[in-house]
Symmetry: C2
């Protein structure tokens, strides 16, 4: 396959964007990415979006968005893999460039979650779980992750305070991100004492409902070099694995098997291991998810993820910074946009453009985007040349 | 890009499948395709589905389906482009094989439309139109295509009887297809006198609401040759173009611009023209759509599509058979499955396995799948070696 570079990134301020429609939000982020890339020719477009049908009554999404973006007749493809839709869009954009069918691809992610009709966001999000075994019987994602948290606590002794440390750290990082939805100072006490959602998870363990979009411009490495782009951020490894989307069929509730498999593929392709990664954006839809992800990705031994968060290793100044952007917890989680925004953050860090939250000379970052409770995982490894 | 062959096809009997769930229907068709291919190793899977969220409350679809199919951890991608979701899944499967990321790809299409909650199928389907300009204001697809039909009749003198000829022909073909939903003998009178849906389109001008799935196994041509597969059906050309999904912004209501652009790409890649195509499966969601598609694909001059249908050219024994399967009209239109089933039909014809509706030694067939009122079009050209 041809090598692939990222030559542009863009996102907007995330939050409750009542005054902007889905198409407005997407176009804003996409134009920023195009502008950032310095080019205006796009061969094709991929859009990650979980459920614009249930949220705003709009399918046929990619054609609509390329039209509003002014790129009318180009081939456009909307992909869906629940909360991993953005990461999947990145993968499909990479495959398109790798095949030679396209040379320059715009990949966007979008979700408009606040204008939802009917049962509201929680019902719409529950369609990422198994409808027959889970959603129909009334469990929602906070409940699913609460089961996983309790299993992790029982098996490994993970504590309530360790969960809180993840939330505090990500909110600290989000304070430094101008695009983050919830810029607030959290404390161990404020997380633990927030409204209980599903024991042991409080409101401050849960990622929010968010309107937002993010976009990147991908390009063959050869073309990017010809354009004289520097510093160049390139894809070094990718992995994609799936699992049962219903939790009850998993052998072990305390680990994300699809993440481990996707990471193994990505490490193998990149010729590196978890110790060679300088920092990562991981899928912290709930605090326990970040702990389990950092273990499943191989950054820490099983059962050590909570301790790592507590010790400060994963903080901005730590040895293995996780979610420098603020993560889903603080930055927000407009479902289909999340996996794309992770790439925006990693590219910004690698190019030295991450502002107040800039790491010192990172060379290699990883993005990890997950669907549902681990029914799908996508891992990408990026390096700056 | 690497060359791509089709080594297996499968579909089930389409209709109102009350006793089968979405996952049952998909697995049935997919296992048939895998069985037909003679192989059991799949590297990745693509699923075309428009709106399982609105129809049955299930997103995260591709992971769910690969799990139920027993292909658990493989990468799976659900794509959506309204009624062109199946054709888009075919394209993305081709690109995956072409890139070398996968060697053998299962492409499936599925829609379960009869168990729908709330506003019913028409409301769910309306999300393929522009929510802000069209659906919100109350127009549905029969109304949109009725506007197109009236414009075509006014501009070119296309007649009510010519529309009926399309329906009669496709029902005649469907009578020979064991998998077709509506196996009935239609007449010019029975079409014209059926219940009026949106003037001039009666119920017998409209494709039905259908539960069904279809699947194909794609493979690199080299691997297919090594397996000794014969006769081999290979992809020769592909095209994908988009347009505004809202009808009012189009310059001309009587032609499908995205189809013309996609066809031009496909012809160019294949090094052939419309006259070199022996037969085609086209997107006849309404009778007028087939007439406009056959013109936009270049089989007939603009305004001549209705006359061609009337003259018998597009019938099974005609010079340019269109929709030998019965088309969407008779076979049914489970939205995401349609574009995949078109490939099943063309491959069956090219391999001489089309039973009672078999054409005499066709060498080259075309598939045309369209989203909404032409907001997206996908064209593929297939040849038997």
């Amino acid at each position: 396959m041809r090598e692939v570079a990222v030559i542009g990134t863009g996102m907007n301020k995330w939050g409750e964007l009542w005054e902007k429609s889905l198409r407005d939000i997407f176009v804003e982020a996409a134009l920023k990415a195009i502008d950032n890339s310095g080019i205006d020719k796009i061969d094709s477009m991929y859009v990650g979006c979980m459920t614009s049908g249930l949220f705003v009554g709009q399918e046929h999404l990619a054609s609509l968005l390329s039209d509003y973006l002014g790129y009318g007749p180009i081939p456009t493809c909307r992909v869906e893999s629940a909360c991993a839709s953005g990461g999947l869009a990145i993968r499909q954009g990479i495959i398109d460039v790798a095949s030679g069918v396209s040379d320059i691809v715009l990949v966007g992610g979008i979700e408009k979650m606040n204008d939802v009709d009917g049962g509201g966001a929680t019902d719409a999000l529950a369609t990422a779980s198994d409808q027959e075994w889970e959603a129909f019987n009334g469990i929602t994602f906070p409940g699913i992750y609460a089961l996983m948290a309790r299993a992790h606590m029982e098996k490994y002794g993970t504590t309530r305070d360790q969960l809180s440390h993840v939330s505090v750290k990500n909110h600290n990082n989000g304070l430094l991100n101008p695009n983050a939805q919830f810029k607030l100072k959290a404390t161990l006490e404020s997380v633990k004492n927030a409204v209980m959602v599903a024991t042991p998870l409080t409101l401050m363990d849960c990622s929010p409902v968010t309107d937002g979009a993010a976009a990147v411009v991908l390009c063959s490495l050869d073309t990017a070099k010809k354009m004289g782009k520097t510093p160049l951020v390139v894809l070094k490894g990718m992995g994609h694995a799936t699992n049962s989307i219903a939790l009850h069929t998993r052998k072990d509730l305390t680990t994300i098997e699809s993440t481990t498999m996707a990471a193994q593929q990505a490490y193998k392709m990149a010729g590196v291991g978890p110790k060679d990664i300088n920092f990562a954006e991981v899928h912290d839809c709930f605090t326990i998810a970040e702990i389990m992800a950092t273990e499943s990705l191989g950054f820490f031994e099983r059962g050590e993820g909570g301790k790592a968060a507590e010790s400060g290793i994963t903080a901005l100044g730590g040895k293995m910074p996780i979610n420098t952007s603020g993560g889903l917890k603080s930055k927000g989680h407009p479902v289909g946009a999340t996996g794309v925004a992770q790439v925006c953050e990693v590219v910004s860090q690698l190019k030295g453009c991450a502002g107040d939250r800039q790491l010192k000379n990172p060379r290699r970052g990883l993005t990890h985007n997950m669907g549902g409770s681990g029914g799908s995982s996508l891992v990408h490894i990026w390096e700056v040349l």
